[in-house]
């Protein structure tokens, strides 16, 4: 367990108390990653800053062009939000496969992104949605495309003390799908996962967002496959061809969960399934 936990009531209070805190410090959101790591033994000199009840981080807000998802919104609250259901189809498709119901009552997208795991279902879906991440350090804000936050397994571009405020998802009408391969269908970390969003007009793909989970050192934005899909008619033939392209973009390894070759092959299969599942919806 950490040495101490502080619980600032607001962001302003967080930045005020920060300089006086012990130098070894981390943010605590839902706890579903860092407490697990800590129960296995963590640095007891650490100070945790509990940001899970800061109101600014718990909002879901719509502007004219985007939807803001606060970093500390619980996954189960995202699932219940009408705005999220409308504007984040890939994220909504991923949520049933995201851990278990009780962990979804605790976990947050901010915690997921900060943890930097390439397997995170919510993050993979958000990358496919074309989300940006909003960051703040002592009152100074910046914004990054979410796909650029990740540098390697558990490595992010976050500076010391920099806090994830939330995510902005563009409000563009699109279809979304999430396909996950794991040892059992629910409550299991993926061997491979594919998140897809498609903006379609007259049966033709205008813009695609493709993200791959568990097959690269980071939640991977499949830029080449997405670019190739733009301008194509959505069909089973297109889906099969896209499957061939995405396999070259994946960069999997062999580990306890699966083997590199199998993961690469299954990326293609999962993308094809995701695209085919959207064909009947494309005309609506």
């Amino acid at each position: 367990m950490p040495e101490m936990i502080v619980k600032p009531a607001t962001l302003k209070e967080l930045w005020k108390i920060l300089p006086a805190l012990p130098p070894a410090r981390r943010y605590l959101a839902g706890g579903t990653d860092i407490v697990v790591a800590c129960n296995g033994g963590c640095e007891s000199s650490e100070c945790w800053m509990d940001i899970s009840d800061i109101p600014e981080l718990k909002t879901i807000k719509e502007t004219a062009s985007s939807l803001f998802l606060g970093a500390a919104v619980k996954i189960s609250d995202l699932e219940r939000s009408a705005a999220v259901r409308k504007w984040c189809p890939a994220l909504i498709a991923a949520i049933p496969y995201y851990a278990s119901p009780s962990l979804r009552n605790m976990a947050t997208l901010g915690g997921n992104a900060g943890n930097g795991s390439p397997c995170a279902d919510g993050v993979c879906a958000l990358v496919a949605e074309g989300a940006s991440v909003l960051l703040e350090l002592k009152g100074k804000k910046r914004r990054l495309p979410l796909k650029d936050l990740f540098l390697g397994p558990k490595k992010t571009a976050l500076k010391k003390d920099e806090l994830i405020l939330g995510f902005e998802v563009p409000k563009r009408a699109r279809l979304g799908a999430y396909q996950k391969l794991s040892a059992r269908p629910y409550f299991c970390i993926s061997k491979a996962a594919v998140a897809v969003t498609l903006e379609i007009s007259g049966g033709v793909i205008k813009r695609a967002g493709i993200a791959l989970g568990s097959v690269a050192p980071v939640p991977l934005y499949a830029a080449k496959t997405a670019a190739w899909l733009a301008g194509k008619k959505l069909s089973a033939v297109t889906a099969a061809a896209a499957a061939g392209i995405v396999k070259a973009e994946a960069a999997p390894i062999t580990d306890a969960r699966s083997e590199a070759d199998y993961r690469r092959e299954m990326c293609g299969v999962l993308l094809e399934r995701a695209l085919v599942s959207l064909v009947p919806l494309a005309g609506r």
């Binding site: 502080v6 108390i17 579903t32 278990s100 119901p101 009780s102 009552n105």
Partner: protein, 160 residues
């Protein structure tokens, strides 16, 4: 935030009772429940959020208390298995059906299963068998008595 020292003044509702106590700020929620509050019905199984033996309700939702810190229930309402009762103060309908169906074997997972099932039936009193199965994905029973658990939850639907 009122402290830079290592203690925290915690105030929350526990099983309907207003509870205030000064705790070590790094106390885990499970230790608060079992050691400080003496409510031993909540169990520690895996300590990793996999098994659900430690589930309690916080603001009406099932959570894994082994992965929460005590400070995270500040200002909230918590219900442990000791707070699950029928309207007459006796056994809750889920507790009755668990007994009637023989859904309890060693009993270690039972508090968590009741909590998870109660959270579901509050939200969705007519939950289907499939919805019950999905809701209980985070509860492991190593005696493997799942069928009887499922029928106990089905039989508790609509009972108050």
């Amino acid at each position: 935030m009122k402290q830079l020292e290592n203690t925290f003044k915690l105030a929350c509702l526990v099983n309907g009772k207003r509870t205030e106590l000064e705790i070590d700020s790094s106390r885990s929620l499970l230790d608060l429940i079992r050691e400080d509050l003496g409510l031993k019905g909540t169990k520690e199984g895996c300590g990793e959020g996999e098994c659900g033996a430690c589930m309690v309700l916080v603001d009406g939702r099932a959570v894994n208390s082994c992965l929460m810190m005590a400070v995270q229930v500040h200002g909230k309402e918590m219900v442990t298995i000791e707070g699950i009762k029928g309207k007459d103060g006796g056994l809750h309908p889920l507790q009755k059906t668990f007994i009637a169906e023989g859904a309890v074997q060693c009993g270690f997972c039972t508090p968590g299963l009741i909590i998870a099932s109660e959270a579901l039936l509050r939200r969705n009193p007519k939950a289907t068998l499939e919805e019950i199965k999905l809701e209980l994905t985070g509860n492991l029973c190593r005696c493997t008595g799942y069928e009887k658990v499922l029928s106990a939850v089905e039989k508790a639907r609509g009972k108050k």
